[in-house]
């Protein structure tokens, strides 16, 4: 039993809105760095960078941050391969960082991301943008920019499909 909760159009509209919100809050894109968490957070952060460039007319610094080595659940889950980390040349020291992920759930991925960031330097601010917030937080962490708040039960699964990994963009909930 599964249904589509965000269509391709919904996703692109949400990303446009988030791009505007990020720019409003940070007063432009000059000191901004977007860091996507692989795999799908990295795709979303690249798309957000394109949207921000469209609005501002200038390039925005963006990269990817793999958090696998900092997870607290490595021992209890199957082996995870490392995914690419790419930190932009200007680094993160003193920047306004926006972490980008697809589904915001327990908050443990973001906790691991904080640890990973700690090794790279001291950012001025760290903000969080997610496409879907499905609730059930296990840690005191919240998102600054949310594509869609999606009330779920723990037995349901939320899948984000994004091109080019899948044929089309959509968010599907199934139980």
């Amino acid at each position: 039993m599964s249904r589509i909760v965000l269509s391709s159009e919904d996703i692109s509209r949400a990303l446009k809105r988030i791009a505007h919100e990020i720019l409003e809050r940070n007063k432009g894109s000059e000191n901004l760095t977007l860091l996507g968490i692989p795999t799908r957070g990295a795709l979303l952060s690249a798309r957000l960078a394109v949207e921000i460039e469209k609005i501002e007319g200038s390039k925005v610094s963006h990269g990817t941050l793999d958090i696998t080595l900092h997870r607290d659940d490595l021992q209890t889950r199957p082996l995870k391969p490392l995914l690419p980390t790419f930190i932009p040349e200007e680094g993160i020291e003193g920047r306004d960082l926006v972490l980008v992920d697809d589904v915001f759930y327990s908050g443990r991925t973001i906790r691991a991301a904080f640890d990973a960031l700690g090794e790279l330097g001291r950012a001025a601010t760290v903000q969080l943008a997610v496409l879907v917030d499905r609730g059930h937080r296990e840690l005191p962490i919240r998102a600054d920019y949310v594509g869609k708040n999606l009330p779920t039960s723990r037995i349901e699964t939320v899948r984000v499909h994004l091109q080019p990994l899948e044929n089309l963009d959509e968010v599907v909930i199934s139980s």
């Binding site: 021992q75 082996l79 490392l82 980390t85």
Partner: protein, 318 residues
């Protein structure tokens, strides 16, 4: 992702798994430049370096790798241990198991020692072969493949089409065995060069070409791997004099000039400078010998991560 329980031989890895080790090492290498080199990944794990044979770089390399992943390291060397009182491998292993070793890195002078340790059930965690007799030295082959790939290849690919020469004491070399099977698995073409006395029996069944002469091959080689002449394993004479060996098979500045293009020079160390390689060649710009050591730490971090980070792979048959 599935990874074998132990790393005893390069045959434990299929093509995809071998490439995965190289890719993991290449991701880990990005951390080695940062100001904080330590990662929390293996916090609380204990890695025992069980070395029955002398070693500088392999032991230090495993130790550095384990420490950078926050594992605790216990170094065991035969000198100063109860092995010199006659304790067997079994009793040593049982002791280590009882102390809670999560992984054992073993180097031993007998071929098959690592296999024995892995199969016997004396310890529960993974066993990593760091060189057993004249059999295998898989992490050395992985770091050589990684060094070659970072020079010639692209990420997520093997070594297809590269011409690799391995010259020297093939007979006694576990490095050569591991490299032959790993590099050919990754798509390289390997030629072994040595005097007939230093080639093992049955070599005609290996997936390699064999030559007794080094000079005609140099111009077409992408990689020349020079092996150490293992005097400590030579109980009879395999060549008339060291000077003669050096003239026929040693890499020197004259032979260095016949190398073409981007080709590189590897040596697993320790070097006998002046015997299989002269000082000018070892320190030349083609020599990747120091890079091999750096890459060794990253490869061993990758192997420790892949073998130790997931309980489900490690803890099945405790």
């Amino acid at each position: 992702m599935i990874f074998p329980r132990h790393l005893l031989s390069v045959d434990d890895l299929d093509y995809d798994q071998a490439v995965k080790v190289l890719d993991t090492a290449s991701e880990l290498s990005k951390f080695s430049g940062s100001s904080i080199k330590k990662l929390p990944t293996l916090r609380g794990k204990t890695v025992v370096n069980l070395f029955f044979e002398d070693s500088t770089r392999t032991r230090i390399s495993f130790e550095a790798a384990a420490k950078r992943l926050s594992a605790d390291v216990i170094n065991f060397s035969v000198k100063g241990s109860s092995v010199s009182k006659g304790e067997s491998l079994k009793d040593t292993a049982l002791t280590l198991g009882a102390m809670g070793a999560d992984a054992v890195v073993i180097r031993h002078h007998f071929s098959g020692a690592a296999q024995r340790l892995a199969d016997a059930g004396w310890i529960s965690g993974p066993v990593i072969n760091a060189g057993d007799g004249t059999h295998e030295h898989p992490t050395q082959a992985l770091l050589d493949a990684y060094t070659i790939r970072s020079k010639f290849g692209k990420d997520s690919e093997g070594l297809s089409g590269l011409q690799v020469i391995i010259v020297g004491d093939i007979l006694h070399s576990r490095v050569a065995r591991s490299n032959v099977f790993l590099l050919t698995k990754l798509g390289a073409e390997v030629t072994l060069v040595a005097p007939p006395t230093l080639l093992p029996v049955g070599i005609e069944n290996w997936p390699v070409k064999i030559s007794y002469q080094l000079d005609p091959l140099l111009s077409s080689a992408d990689v020349v791997m020079v092996l150490r002449v293992q005097k400590e394993r030579m109980v009879q004479s395999f060549f008339p004099t060291e000077r003669e060996y050096s003239r026929h098979y040693g890499m020197n500045s004259h032979r260095l000039k016949s190398l073409s293009g981007e080709s590189i020079l590897l040596h697993p160390g320790p070097m006998n400078r002046g015997l299989e390689i002269d000082a000018l060649t070892a320190d030349s710009s083609r020599s990747m010998i120091v890079n091999q050591v750096t890459n060794g730490v990253q490869i061993r971090m990758a192997v420790l991560y892949l073998l130790l980070s997931s309980q489900q792979v490690v803890g099945e048959e405790v």
